[in-house]
Amino acid sequence: MNCKTLHTKIIFFTEGSLPAREMEEIKIHLENCSNCAAFANEMKKTLAVIENENTPQLNPFFYTRVKARLENRVEEEKVIRRSPVLVRILQPAMFSLLLLAGIYTGIKIGQPAKISSDVPVFSENEVVPYFNEMETEAIENFLME
């Protein structure tokens, strides 16, 4: 057996689940090949991690936590079920209204900008009147005493 074939069987060798003849073949290879032996050793130690993990330390507070969580959940549901119609229906309705109002305002604010970009002449006339006083004085005058 060459090294490459061995690498595809090493996990089964570690478990001891290969046919006897293959087990023997691999054993002989490992005695003569330090590279494969090192990998086989590492594989064995890595798989041993599972053996250590499958007897976990049980959390002594586990039941208490489950119970607390269950009770919390029951409480939450009671609050929802008990709460008056006012809260259950009117509250979402109010939120929806608020949202609609927001959207409407948004559209209203957005619209003038769109119009003005289409017809720029109007927008100038609309803005300029507020600065009418400035027209009476030439801009150069600001620089003179």
């Binding site: 595809t8 590492e42 890595t46 599972i50 250590n52 499958n54 976990p56 959390n59 586990f62 936590r65």
Partner: protein, 190 residues
Amino acid sequence: MNETEIIQKLQQGNEPAFKELVETYQKLVVNTCFGLVQNTEDAEDIAQEVFIEVFRSIQNFRADAKLSTWLYRIAVNRSLNHIRDNKRSKWFQSFDDVVKGKTLLLNHYASENLGAELENMQRATILHEAIGLLPENQKTAFTLNKYEDLSYKEIAEIMDTSVASVESLIHRAKTGLQKKLYTCYKKKCF
């Protein structure tokens, strides 16, 4: 209390029966969740949810079914859902990056630790990452076999499939793990 008694009392809303159920099956559920999510905190969190689900749906439990099979199924489903929900964040990280990153972190924090202990922590990290990369049903079959020591027949019942396909799933899982571990070994990410 035997299984039937526990179920009957649970269906009547009996609290001591629930306590007994949790204490009897805590290890089974936590262990199964851990094998799948490979993280202690998440495993316990999911396990708590499993028992809450059991408590709330015990009325629908068929008397002829096996309680442990049902518990395994809920534990597996909830763990797989948890993994799916968390997958997106890991999408762009490759296996080697994750292992290297975690190993660096371990080296950093464990510089005062004993050598052998540190080595085992690294091995655990690599193993967890490699198991995490297995396809869902391979991971499930492998976990039930390796972490819960269940027979192929029991696993087939839980996964609602044939013994032959469980055998094939576990074989592929082991081959996949072996490949990952070898790649990692060659690149010296140990």
